[in-house]
Symmetry: C2
């Protein structure tokens, strides 16, 4: 059992939305417990009544913290930003903050929902082409946006929630064998970020529920 | 031409994401200009090179404000919240703020993207069943969430971004003939909100680009 004061993250090693939250925890240096919710095993453990009580949408992640349960990864990260010390995950300048949020929502509303497990199961046989289509479409627009906003990171020279969203989405793109050559800015940003400690420690290949054959 | 100091909203009368932004403008009492982007006419005016330069994702809304262009409706509304006076659209209490954001993202990432025009065009013949499926699935979870968070409005007794997201999603549900009987809390909140001036003035049936036969 987790200590009562430690947040408990319900997550799945390969879920890109779970990874977003793990990156935020790592960047802010917050200790937390993980409870694995295996989205495949037993027909999907997110279907259980116990998990449904935590997150009626039956998706990961969900976070139990400060006596409440929050679902939706960006809402979780924003709550950490609002209540926990550590490096800011949003710029102080309102215009740059708007750019960060625009990129986050571009990924979290415009790309990821169209290639998540539930949707692909519903698509069936065409699922790889479907996922590739929506990732490529989203990346074509994102590349143009990043050309205007990026410095060392997605928006200027400070790490933000935009970077937290970018890297797990690139990971999904690679899983679906999307060619990143047409997206040099996305590729460059991902290469800069992925080697950082917070992104490495939180990586899907290195979680308590990562199957042995996928660990690196 | 708009006065240089007035924000210009690129929108489409029936787009639920455009409506979200119009509600925020109305609640805050901010004057703005609208530029219509007809998503159907000429194969979709969002496909034009001119519009693509404003929003590479070729979706509405996009807002030109303070010398920058912001796409993604929640990023736009959050920028208005950060920079404009008027009633707060997010609660001051961090836990209630997290609940508002969770509901917003539930709708903006979990429901709307799966039933928007682009996706339904790709689905083809099965599009009505597809849209209904994802709206019902999202509403089943949302009803349970709202049972825990709602007071007079979606979260407690003050209007917030969650209400701004709810009403346009219910409008979409009605367009797709989703039966709202199983969702009494969603129905009750929508009925409370829809009669308010900010929701009426911004309603799809009352915009400069609303076709004459759809005006009420």
């Amino acid at each position: 059992m987790a200590a009562p004061d430690k947040p408990v993250l319900y997550s799945y090693f390969r879920s890109s939305c779970s990874w977003r939250v793990r990156i935020a925890f790592a960047l802010k240096g917050i200790e937390y417990e993980q409870e694995a919710v295996n989205l495949i095993k037993d027909g999907g453990q997110q279907q259980s009544e116990k998990y449904k009580a935590l997150n009626p949408m039956q998706q990961v992640p969900a976070l139990c913290i400060d006596g409440i349960t929050i679902s939706q990864s960006l809402a979780i990260i924003q709550y950490l930003e609002d209540t926990r010390p550590g490096p800011h995950l949003l710029p102080q300048d309102p215009k740059m903050r708007a750019q960060v949020r625009m990129i986050c929502d571009h990924i979290a509303s415009g790309i990821q929902p169209l290639q998540n497990l539930y949707v692909l199961q519903k698509i069936g046989a065409e699922k790889v082409e479907w996922a590739q289509h929506f990732i490529v479409r989203g990346f074509q627009a994102l590349e143009l946006i990043l050309l205007q906003t990026a410095g060392r990171y997605c928006v200027g020279d400070e790490i933000s929630m935009a970077d937290i969203c970018l890297v797990p989405q690139v990971y999904n793109a690679e899983r679906f064998k999307v060619d990143l050559t047409p997206f040099p800015t996305i590729k460059r940003l991902n290469e800069t970020l992925i080697v950082m400690e917070a992104f490495q420690a939180s990586h899907p290949s290195r979680q308590p529920d990562t199957p042995a054959d996928l660990q690196v």
